[in-house]
Amino acid sequence: MTAVLEVLLWWAALTGLWLVLISTVDPLELLVGSASALAAALLARVGRRAVADR
């Protein structure tokens, strides 16, 4: 449960960041942005776990 929440929080923050980086918003941009943000959010979670329990 905490895992889902953590990824979700990261995803929301990173999608917001993507919206800051781009210049024009359109549906495709949103799709690519949220997919990239999801990948980065998953990496954030996996990375934190890998460092925490070595």
Partner: protein, 266 residues
């Protein structure tokens, strides 16, 4: 050849080069003034294919075949490294030692990690719109992963880095480039011709095949750099030679020291 003779050979060569170089420089067009005819045509071609970033248009559309060559150079360079830096039969692997990292540094690295990956993906995705592209973004994304090595140690990095996947990714990126080129042939045009609809200028879907090829390069470079660094990390952190410190040096390992040795002998 004695050092003295060598110096004279160098001086003669350098003097000749200096003369020719100066003569060539005198014939150059004035600095930053005359618009080059190729530049004008490249900008025109890029805009006619709805690619906002002219450099991306040159790389992935006008000269897509050149870029295929460049991509293959990186591809084969990575393969060469993998072969040279493999674990030899007389070497053994030891577990990397855990590292203690200052907590603020660890927190900072862990927080930067997703940001760096997102910036890398952003640079890849917007290659045909703004400066950047598959290569630049790919390197940033690959660097992002190695922030884990900074945040903790090699063990942490190994846990989140399925190397086989990255090896597949590298090959898939290279293959996707060639397949896109061949698809253009099947569509009745030339190899790597831009056959897709061009889309609206300055959106993610613009540029036709330039967009696809850019993504393929992004995949190849990201995976390639990860594989490349993995080999270097393995050698520096994990692999030990028999009787390290006195064992017979092997040719492939000496690349780092060769330059120095030659200088010393010189």
């Amino acid at each position: 050849m004695s050092p003295r003779v060598r110096l004279w050979v160098f001086l003669v060569g350098a003097a000749g080069f200096a003369a020719l170089f100066a003569a060539a420089c005198l014939d150059l067009p004035a600095f930053g003034t005359v618009p080059h005819p190729y530049g004008v045509r490249a900008v025109h071609a890029a805009l006619s294919h709805h690619t906002a970033n002219v450099i991306a248009s040159v790389n992935f559309d006008l000269r897509a075949f050149d870029t295929l060559g460049e991509e293959s150079i990186l591809f084969s360079a990575v393969i060469g490294t993998v072969v040279l830096l493999r674990q030899a039969r007389d070497e053994h692997r030891k577990d990397p030692e855990p590292a203690t990292v200052h907590p603020p540094v660890r927190r900072f690295a862990l927080l930067t990690l997703p940001f760096a990956l997102l910036v890398g993906l952003y640079v890849i995705a917007h290659g045909q719109i703004s400066p950047g592209g598959g290569f630049q973004g790919g390197v940033v994304a690959a660097t992002a992963l190695h922030l884990l090595y900074i945040a903790a140690d090699y063990r942490a990095l190994e846990r989140v880095r399925p190397l086989t996947l990255y090896e597949i990714g590298e090959a898939a990126g290279e293959a996707a480039y060639v397949i896109t080129g061949l698809a253009a042939v099947l569509a009745g045009s030339a190899f790597l011709a831009n056959v897709l609809p061009f889309g609206t200028l300055a959106t993610l879907s613009s540029g036709g095949t330039a967009m696809v090829l850019n993504a393929a390069v992004g995949l190849e470079v990201t995976s390639g750099i990860v594989v490349l660094l993995a080999r270097f990390l393995d050698q520096a952190v994990e692999i030990e030679e028999p009787g390290e410190g006195g064992g017979s040096p092997r040719d492939t390992r000496d690349s780092g020291g060769n330059g120095d040795d030659e200088r010393e002998r010189a």
